[in-house]
């Protein structure tokens, strides 16, 4: 059964190749080989975090902080501007004898607006970069892949990777010490 939302993947007959490893160490070194072979659209799957795997996979720094910065500053400017406009121009009111344009009481709300947008943009930016929510993934159709929450270690190489070639990639994965390599169909099928 396909999921509620279509996976954000290009069309094609196959999702890619799935290789299984019997230990985190084997997965780690296989990642280094796949990285060095120049693949970019691929991922490693493990039941638990493996220290240093991001370096073995050649993953760079996240772009998320820039999203946070831009949205945080937007919140700061927007929060201050809203209060200055509302209390100074649109509806000026005398409150405890203070001037209409005074930045001091607006600072806490400005700060909160900055934090609010920064926090929300970080969470939703993280969702966006991770392509979440994703209710279905072609790997879920592979019965063997269920081990990934228990004792299975996998590498999946996606078919739309520019370097992907079903035969050559399969040979590469087999040479990294995989115990099993299989082709994964585009939509959930069994095997």
């Amino acid at each position: 059964m396909p999921g509620f939302l279509p996976p954000f993947f290009p069309e094609g007959e196959h999702f890619g190749l799935l290789a299984e490893y019997d230990s985190p160490g084997a997965l780690f070194h296989a990642c280094e080989k796949v990285r060095d072979a120049g693949y970019s659209k691929w991922d490693a799957h493990s039941p638990f975090p493996i220290h240093g795997i991001e370096k073995a996979m050649g993953i760079g720094r996240s772009r998320l902080p820039y999203v946070t910065l831009v949205c945080g500053l937007t919140g700061v400017i927007g929060g201050m501007a809203l209060q200055l406009w509302a209390n100074g121009i649109a509806y000026p009111m005398i409150i405890s004898g203070k001037p209409f344009f005074n930045w001091q009481p607006y600072v806490p709300i400005t700060f909160e607006c900055g934090i609010l947008l920064a926090a929300l943009s970080t969470v939703f930016g993280m969702f966006a970069f991770n392509k979440l929510p994703m209710h279905f993934h072609p790997l879920f159709g592979v019965e063997r892949f269920e081990k990934v929450t228990d004792d299975g270690f996998f590498i999946s190489v996606e078919a739309w990777d520019p370097k992907f070639d079903a035969a050559a990639t399969e040979r590469l994965l087999a040479s990294t010490g995989a115990t099993n390599v299989q082709l994964v169909p585009r939509r959930g099928a069994t095997s």
Binding site: P65, S96, Q104, P105, V107
Partner: protein, 399 residues
């Protein structure tokens, strides 16, 4: 490198002698500064006020070090073990501050208006505070602070040194048990010391935030100072490969955080007083809006917060020694301006007047402080050699 792996740090390469050169530099600076400040303004109000600013400045660095060590111990932190000894050395200079307090004690009648009998006689508010603000109690409290700080600093420092020889894990556990009590003592003594020595300069005024204000600046100062000390040790060939870029990045993160904390506290104090608009409270900021004091205040908002905030934000900056040194020196200058701005308007209400006496007193207190720091450092290793979490700290990496 796993935590169980036997890791040793070469005590010869990472000897405290790397910081030993500070003794000579400090002694020369101290003697010149002391001579110059006495020759320039010995015995005058200017001398005592300049001394007070310099004293609070270096005291804040040493107290910041005490705080850092206590928190590091109580949180059972592993990341900073390799640089903890450097901070411990700064902390261990605290007993010297009892000696450096002598000029303040001598000049107490010049500095603190409320100690004048005639000032109190005509002022019912000062009379009302007499139970707390009287010379005898003021002095007793000062003694209490020095005892508390000296005992805490000396004990934590010597126990850590003892572990270098025996390698007992029990020592870590013992320190961890005592650290919470130390933190409570630290919080109370630092707050009351700020009230006694800085807030009582204006006996009619009060702020419940002045203690934490001083504390926030103190942490910014010790983090900046630690960055400088580590690089000074690098230049002598020590600490390289032990305190790595990962540790520097963490110190810089804390510096970033406490810079924001300082701004938060500074603004909160200003904001509440501004909003309530009660004359006995607003007098503090009224004084600081006169002439060049106004510009100094603006400079603090910009230089002590906004510039470092954006400067320290990128990860790359926090891992770049040259930029960290620039920022550390900048924040240490700003911290001086901060204390100058807090204390000096009582002497020069007409506007900021930074003079040679200020520089000389700064060199005097700073020189003696550095000499003590160099002396303490040179007597032991610059790394806690046998701390149980040293291997973990050595292999620490930011993810």
């Amino acid at each position: 490198m796993s935590a169980g792996h036997a890791v040793t740090v070469d005590p010869a390469q990472h000897s405290g002698k790397a910081l030993g050169r500070l003794t000579g530099i400090g002694a020369v600076l101290g003697v010149i500064g002391l001579g110059a400040s006495l020759a320039l303004a010995g015995g005058t109000k200017q001398f005592y006020f300049s001394w007070l600013v310099a004293y609070m400045y270096f005291l804040s660095i040493a107290l910041g070090a005490l705080f850092f060590v206590l928190v590091h111990t109580v949180t059972r932190a592993a990341w900073g073990v390799t640089l903890r000894r450097v901070v411990e050395n700064v902390m261990a200079t605290l007993p010297v501050f009892a000696l450096l307090f002598v000029p303040i004690w001598l000049g107490r009648h010049e500095i603190y208006e409320w100690m004048h009998a005639e000032a109190a006689a005509h002022n019912p508010i000062i009379q009302g505070k007499a139970a707390f603000l009287n010379e005898g109690f003021w002095f007793t409290r000062a003694i209490f602070y020095f005892v508390a700080w000296s005992v805490l600093a000396t004990w934590f420092s010597t126990q850590s040194q003892k572990q270098d020889e025996t390698g007992e894990e029990r020592i870590s556990a013992r320190l961890r048990g005592a650290a919470p009590i130390g933190i409570v003592l630290f919080a109370l003594t630092t707050t009351f010391a700020t009230i006694d020595w800085m807030m009582s300069l204006e006996p009619m005024w009060y702020s419940t935030m002045i203690g934490v204000y001083f504390f926030s600046g103190a942490v910014v100062a010790i983090l900046s100072f630690t960055l400088l000390l580590v690089h000074f040790a690098y230049a002598q060939g020590a600490l390289r490969g032990v305190v790595t870029v990962e540790h520097l990045q963490d110190v810089a993160k804390l510096l970033f955080g406490f810079t924001i904390f300082w701004a938060y506290i500074a603004f909160s104090q200003y904001f509440l007083i501004w909003y309530a608009n009660i004359p006995e409270e607003t007098i503090y900021y009224m004084k600081r809006q006169v002439g060049s004091w106004q510009s100094a205040g603006m400079m603090l908002a910009l230089g002590h917060f906004l510039v470092p905030f954006f400067f320290l934000m990128p990860r790359a900056v926090k891992r770049q020694s040259a930029l960290l040194i620039v920022m550390a020196i900048w924040q240490l200058l700003m911290h001086f301006l901060d204390l100058h701005w807090c204390i000096m308007p009582n002497l020069h209400p007409e506007g900021m007047k930074l003079g040679l006496t200020d520089v000389a007193a700064f060199a005097a207190v700073g020189g003696i402080f550095l000499a003590a720091l160099g002396w303490v450092s040179s007597r032991r290793a610059l790394v806690p050699l046998r701390d149980p979490r040293l291997p973990e700290s050595l292999s620490f990496e930011n993810v």
